[in-house]
Symmetry: C2
Subunit: 333 residues, 2 copies
């Protein structure tokens, strides 16, 4: 299926204008779409507009804009009223991870929009197959999972649920190629999605080592940043294995797998933090502690880093020689 329509002719909607929703609105504006943003919570529109303007300035500093900021804002409509979605072809839901609330949102979207609308969720907590049962039109429902900040990361995971039609999945996958992303298309609904799922395997093992007193938070972060971080953006998991030569892996799997942790409970450190209702950088209390100045630093430094790593990733594409043959074996396995 070829995509013949320009993004500026495809109206898209976003419901839920919190941190992630605002960031997705900006990604879609920058991709050229006219965007309708619905704030289901009263009074949320003003804060969302400020966030969106601030993100657009960040895009401008990062040389992502082809037009002045005002041109993007002219294509944006924000309201508490779902009726502004009436002409949308795609509506992204980004509301709180509570099924009853999402069900209500899907009902309101379908009441307000045209018949062929596709609805997507940014959920990372509820399986798409479960969520689509709450939708009046499950075959035109799927997951679109963004990374923060949505306008300055290349990651985008599109996930079909059991009832999602092929046509819906393909349409969104094709469209997403106009968004300056490296979209992946999951045919099956893996709970937690790939990266999240793998990170929880990492969390389980590392909290186990911390609980045993084998290492400490600061050393782990150093190891992860300077060791894993030294190849991750370049290679991913499997190409790195190819790079290292594969010879020792089977033996190390046999030695190491039986020693990996199998805990199913919440790690002690996480439970302590939950009991204290600590919110990390937001309130200065977390796994580390932060003064106001430090919290501000981490926010600003990450905004700068996002820009740097986005450009760096661009220098090292997945298919550098524009030759698709190299990935076919991977696809088949």
């Amino acid at each position: 299926m070829e995509f013949e329509t320009e993004t500026n002719e495809i109206q898209v909607g976003v419901v839920g204008l919190g941190l992630m929703g605002s960031s997705i609105v900006v990604a879609l504006l920058v991709a050229g779409h006219p965007v309708s943003g619905v704030a289901p919570l009263p009074g949320e529109v003003d804060g969302a507009l400020q966030r969106i303007k601030s993100h657009l300035r960040h895009c401008q500093e990062s040389n992502l804009l082809s037009q002045p900021i005002e041109s993007y804002l002219e294509r944006l409509t924000l309201s508490e009223d779902y009726q502004i979605l009436n002409n949308c072809r795609l509506v992204q839901e980004c509301v709180v991870e509570i099924k009853e609330i999402k069900a209500e949102v899907y009902k309101k979207i379908h009441e307000a929009t045209r018949e062929d609308v596709i609805v997507s969720s940014n959920t990372s907590a509820i399986p798409i197959s479960m969520l689509q049962e709450l939708s009046p039109v499950p075959e035109r429902f799927l997951g679109i999972h963004w990374a923060e900040p949505a306008y300055l990361t290349r990651f985008l995971e599109i996930t079909k649920g059991q009832q999602t039609s092929d046509e819906t999945g393909q349409w969104v996958f094709q469209l997403a190629h106009s968004w300056d992303k490296e979209p992946t298309f999951l045919q099956k609904d893996v709970r937690g999605f790939v990266t999240n799922r793998l990170m929880y395997a990492v969390y389980r093992e590392i909290f186990h080592l911390i609980e045993k007193g084998e290492t400490n938070l600061e050393d782990v972060d150093k190891a992860w940043r300077y060791d894993a971080g030294s190849w991750m953006t370049f290679m991913g998991i499997f190409r790195r294995m190819d790079y290292l030569g594969l010879e020792d892996f089977p033996q190390i799997c046999r030695n190491t797998f039986p020693k990996l942790n199998k805990m199913t409970r919440v790690p002690e450190v996480m439970q302590t933090i939950a009991d204290e209702r600590a919110r990390g950088i937001q309130d200065g209390k977390g796994l580390f502690t932060y003064s106001g100045e430090e919290a501000k630093h981490w926010e600003e430094a990450f905004a700068a880093f996002n820009k740097d790593i986005f450009r760096l990733a661009e220098k090292y594409p997945s298919r550098p020689l524009s030759d698709k043959s190299e990935i076919q074996q991977g696809d088949d396995k």
Copy 2:
């Protein structure tokens, strides 16, 4: 313990001049040490010298050298004879991961060197506590674990075994601060070390998802590069959790941990590769396939990427405000 001696007055040795050994020789030369490199395999010296020269040119292109390449080569001695180690304070072993061979190497090192020599291993397969039993002087034996390429990565993991003396550990840890690294110091001997151990937790889970047909190699690498890679070099594991706000983690641990895989066998794909004796980028057959041109591309591109990510990591230090208070909570937990 303060380090009062300049690196150029501390002779160090490397035994085993394969890919990793050659790379470590260069890291130590660049740090200012006079280096004695022993090739335990006959005929290995010539190839090692070529690799070392090539690495030094890579360092020069990356602006890591303060002197001409020749000055570094003047401080290098290569031989098959262990006697060149006679004045070394520290000898790094980088030979094949076979205990009998390592035991023989440790014996020869101690026969050739001064009484107070410290011996370190780059092993990532054998616990340091087990390995040091093969050493004639276990209290002056420890692990120094480098990342490839050793001269252009910030990672360095120093690991004490059960019998390693505090003095030995501290001496090496202090010295390593002259090497332009971000060294971590493991007081206990965690089999597989932190990053390797966590990567095997990742491998187990991801090969399980691949075996179930839930995803494919190419999509996983994309997700890992563009999602995990978008924050890893900046934040590490725990600071990212603080950044995300911590609120949802306990619930997702409870939901996700019980679903994570517990396999102890070698994953099918890895077993197939082992049966085929595929060597990845080295022979063009691996998880992906590679033409000669593609293999060359990945080697060269990674050399360029190393330089970029090394500089990028430098822009975002672990303790940006030079205030150590923020990490104390982390240290205590």
